[in-house]
Subunit: 313 residues, 2 copies
């Protein structure tokens, strides 16, 4: 028993320790002087003395030996410094990162976008943004307009880019781009001579459409309703959750479709697909919206990104 480690009283509930005292302690340790530390910290010597004293009482051990004019840390002091020093680094790091963040020199930006914005509008915007804020990490997830608004509403992302407005009091929609829906058909001899078509003829054709959550679909249904008809009057062969899938299907002569002009530019250019006018629908505008959650504080990064989105408007 004589020579086994003693179990001294354990320290009081440690959450009570004031970390500010550690900073003062470290200054004293480094300056090897109470008064110099006081100067460095813009405090007075008695204040510093008092703080060291309370630390010594807290740990119930002396931290410095007072040797007349000079002081020397005790072993306990050495131990405390070794493990307390990092506090200073962390404090500095916190300030550095917060200030970098607030100055938008670093950070994260999570975006949810529906197909057309994700594939045809955002890549160039994100590219320009990245040039200016290279340390900001942009993450974009792709779904349909319904998914986008859900992501924004539930705070999973900073911003959404959707092809349809959804009624939700917490969400703010702002138009940032527009496109037109066009009627597309395979570029084969069956369609070679066709320049335009009437809606009633179109209703007979095998139609490919997007799923119900899609902005393209919503726009289409909305417009048909205004014309006194609906998708029920059409010959729908399939609903696809992807515009690319529809393009593939049209190219393979599975059917025809009405989709965003932006998404078929390349296919039209390569003559895989062609546009045919619909007599009743000379103009078929569709808009794209930035979606924000009004309840969430936008990060500075998010606000800057919006400036890029609306640049030149």
């Amino acid at each position: 028993m004589a020579h086994s480690p003693k179990s001294s009283a354990t320290l009081a509930e440690y959450t009570s320790m004031n970390l500010g005292l550690i900073e003062i302690f470290c200054a004293v340790y480094e300056e090897k002087s109470f008064s110099k530390a006081a100067k460095r910290l813009h405090l007075t010597q008695p204040t510093v003395s008092g703080h060291i004293k309370s630390l010594e009482e807290y740990f119930n051990t002396s931290l410095f030996d007072r040797l007349g004019r000079e002081i020397q840390p005790t072993r306990a002091g050495e131990m405390l410094y070794r493990h307390g020093r990092p506090v200073l680094e962390i404090k500095k790091a916190i300030h550095e990162h917060m200030s970098r963040f607030l100055n938008q020199l670093e950070g994260k930006l999570d975006i949810s976008a529906s197909t057309i914005p994700a594939e045809y509008l955002l890549p160039t915007i994100i590219g320009r943004f990245h040039k200016v804020y290279p340390k900001v990490e942009v993450t974009m997830t792709v779904s349909d307009s319904r998914g986008v608004t859900a992501d924004v509403a539930q705070g999973r992302v900073d911003l959404g880019f959707a092809g349809a407005r959804l009624k939700d009091g917490n969400l703010e929609f702002r138009k940032f781009a527009s496109d037109r829906l066009i009627f597309v058909v395979p570029n084969n001899k069956q369609w070679a001579a066709v320049k335009s078509i009437q809606l009633k003829d179109l209703q007979q054709l095998p139609l490919l459409i997007r799923e119900p959550g899609s902005g393209t679909r919503a726009t289409l249904e909305d417009r048909l309703a205004k014309l006194g008809t609906s998708l029920a009057d059409f010959n729908i062969v399939a609903q696809f959750g992807s515009t690319s899938a529809i393009k593939q299907a049209v190219t393979a002569d599975v059917g025809i479709s009405i989709i965003s002009n932006l998404s078929v530019q390349r296919e039209i250019h390569w003559r895989l697909i062609k546009e045919v006018r619909i007599d009743e629908l000379q103009t078929f505008e569709r808009d794209f919206f930035v979606v924000r959650n009004k309840k969430r504080t936008p990060s500075p990064t998010c606000e800057s990104f919006l400036e890029f989105v609306f640049a030149g408007k």
Copy 2:
């Protein structure tokens, strides 16, 4: 200019930030609730609210979005948590290490010892000590008694072990072991029959002695003075800074010497060296001392070590 990072106001002198607030912030972040965090920290909800508010004012940005019943960290909040979280770890680490130190489960012990203690007395003591406190790192430097006392006086070590007392008001000497000085000669035929010798005959022989800082040397001089003589009356061929060097020299028949019994046990056993009694010096006690600096606070480890040194006394 439109799209370059904005330089917002830099944060106020960062030393003013209270790290305690970070702990509260982290609790709120982790609990995703002011009131739950309050409970965890044994505070009240308004107190926590107040602290978060002051942090928000300090950083001049909101850290949580208050969404009715629930709260969500903002991007700034995420950033602060990421870099503030380590504060909690450090605080815990400080307490852990300090308490381990105070319970002597870890630490350092620096010792300065003169030759005889270092080679013949301390190894076993340190060995036993290490068994009980395996995490304590013992460092022993070896010099002569003068060097040892200097090390202690200047606070370079926790403890000294010397073969002589030196007058210094700041030092405390405590005898912890003793030995006797003996007259040793090479074990050759010249000495084969000799059992004892008179001091005046010894004075003619080629004597090897330690350097002036040595405790052995000091003891020798002291004793000679009491017998009304001094080293000046001897035939000194060399002063060596090491007892081992002297033993080598005696073995090689370079001369004879008067050294610590402890240090020549092995050489006597192997019949390289033999002891010859000096008629006037039947007993030639010499003591070894623990040296402490009275001005320095002993670490708990140091105090425990002393218990080992004086074990069984």
